[in-house]
């Protein structure tokens, strides 16, 4: 039994599906997440596959700050993702609202609406930092 469990935990760490959702930012983080998926950085080396369906998702990458309209959309998406899930906030806007924090339609970072597990600073973070961010949160799948 113990061995089975060990095997399960190991294989879960290496077979995550990921989705990215871009909120009210400049789109730069979204491009860098795309770049992390493509040949030069290739997140698929870690078994991480890009998907568009929240029900298939283990890792959600959030880029951009929350505004009044996308708040509900984000909440809705997160509620559909089955546990255990890893939520990574990518880029300054998703962390605190960044340069747009004082704008009238911005509420703040993604942590104002959901519980974020890993914060990746940078404006925008380099693809290496995105990879670092996802890898550093993988222990969440070991419980």
């Amino acid at each position: 039994m113990g061995m089975m469990k060990h095997l399960m935990v190991r294989s879960r760490r290496r077979s995550l599906w990921m989705m990215h959702f871009c909120l009210g930012g400049c789109n730069g983080c979204s491009i860098e997440i795309m770049a992390a998926l493509t040949p030069m950085y290739d997140l698929e080396r870690f078994g991480i596959l890009n998907t568009g369906n929240p029900k298939h998702t283990d890792v959600l990458l959030v880029g951009g700050s929350v505004n009044h309209r996308n708040r509900r959309t984000l909440k809705n998406l997160i509620d559909q993702i089955p546990a255990p899930r890893l939520i990574v906030a990518v880029g300054t806007c998703a962390l605190t609202g960044g340069i747009f924090n004082e704008a009238y339609n911005i509420i703040g970072g993604a942590n104002r609406v959901v519980d974020v597990d890993v914060y990746v600073p940078g404006c925008p973070p380099k693809p290496e930092a995105v990879i670092d961010g996802i890898l550093s949160g993988l222990d969440k799948f070991e419980q």
Binding site: C26, M34, T38
Partner: protein, 358 residues
């Protein structure tokens, strides 16, 4: 006949950004399309109240990550005109080099996403691999990959040494070779042509009437390019706008593909004409007056309206982005399409929601 309403988005695998299309579908044909925006709206035009005009440069760069260098340059040009200063020629030429590099990265991104929207995954990966060469050279010369933040009011903040210029030339040579190799796939391949030809045709008169800009307008056969007004260092260089006549997805793809080569030519001749000297004109004045400034972005013409009253804060900043103008053309294109073509045609206009909503 069954009529149904299909909402596409806000989260959809093909669109990178949240934006909703409500499609009224009769059987499989779209009869009406209603967009819903506001998922990325930040209200950054109102930030002039709390940030001074120098800090607003950083905000202008973050309107959109894909064309940030040109947004920054346009904002700086507008303020420079109000202050009555001219950046030194070397700064103007460096701005041209970096904005054309930005245009290349944007067009390569678009080509990749377009391939992905067709379902051609390996071409998407191939194009993104080519794009990384451009990203590396941007990172090497400016310090960041996407938001390069080189423009300041009065010039640029980073200089380009001989090594950096050589690096750019080498990278361009490599990109040109790689692009030649994918040319037969993008232009001649049977399946790509089947998927893109005669899809989403925007007629010449209609495109002009709807106020479409940039590659969309040029793909419909109208030669319009704001770089021809000769702002910055563009007046010193000679070039002709890239024009195609088809008006369909294939024509838009060809325009952007050929513009990549045009950008490379501009960068090369820009680097050759790079004069020595200062890179910044300093000014302690505060802007005053009213001005309208236009530039050509990867997606078309951007218009900045600025009103200032001589204080630290601007009175009004208004940015009409190219994607905002193209949105009307998109809504005109969608009715009559097959449902399966909607993502491809939408992407062929290069909708950037971060720009559209600001």
């Amino acid at each position: 006949m069954t009529v149904s309403v299909i909402p596409v988005g806000p989260q959809h695998p093909v669109f990178l950004e949240p934006f909703q299309l409500k499609l009224v579908v009769e059987d499989e044909v779209v009869s009406e399309a209603l967009p819903r925006f506001g998922y990325v709206h930040r209200g950054l035009e109102a930030l002039v109240v709390s940030k001074d005009f120098r800090q607003m440069t950083r905000v202008a760069e973050r309107i959109c990550g894909i064309c940030s260098a040109i947004h920054g340059m346009t904002y700086c040009r507008a303020i420079e005109k109000l202050l009555g200063i001219t950046p030194p020629p070397r700064a103007q030429m460096l701005r041209l080099v970096w904005s054309e590099l930005h245009r290349m990265h944007s067009h390569l991104l678009w080509l990749g996403l377009f391939a992905e929207a067709m379902g051609f995954e390996s071409l998407f990966m191939q194009i993104f691999r080519i794009r990384e060469t451009v990203m590396d050279i941007l990172e090497q010369t400016t310090g960041n990959r996407v938001i390069i933040s080189v423009n300041v009011i009065g010039g640029v903040r980073r200089d380009l040494d001989a090594e950096g210029a050589d690096g750019i030339r080498r990278a361009l040579k490599k990109v040109a070779g790689d692009l030649e190799r994918i040319r037969p796939v993008l232009v001649d391949d049977y399946s790509v042509r089947k998927r893109t030809e005669e899809k989403g045709i925007l007629a010449k008169e209609r495109a002009y009437e709807l106020g479409a800009v940039g590659p969309v307008l040029r793909a419909s056969g109208i030669s319009q390019d704001i770089r021809r007004t000769g702002y910055g260092a563009y007046g010193e260089l000679d070039f002709e706008p890239v024009v195609e006549s088809g008006g369909d997805c294939q024509a838009r793809c060809k325009v952007r593909y050929r513009e990549l080569f045009q950008s490379m030519d501009l960068i090369r001749s820009g680097l050759d004409r790079l004069s020595d000297g200062e890179i910044q004109t300093k000014s302690k004045e505060k802007p005053e007056g009213e001005i309208l400034v236009r530039s050509e972005q990867p997606r078309g013409e951007v218009v900045y309206y600025i009103r200032a009253d001589g204080s630290k804060h601007l009175q009004r900043l208004r940015i009409r982005t190219p994607t905002f103008a193209n949105m009307a053309a998109l809504m005109d294109l969608l009715p009559g399409l097959d449902l399966a073509d909607v993502p491809l045609v939408t992407l062929s206009l290069d909708p950037c929601i971060a720009c559209t909503e600001r």
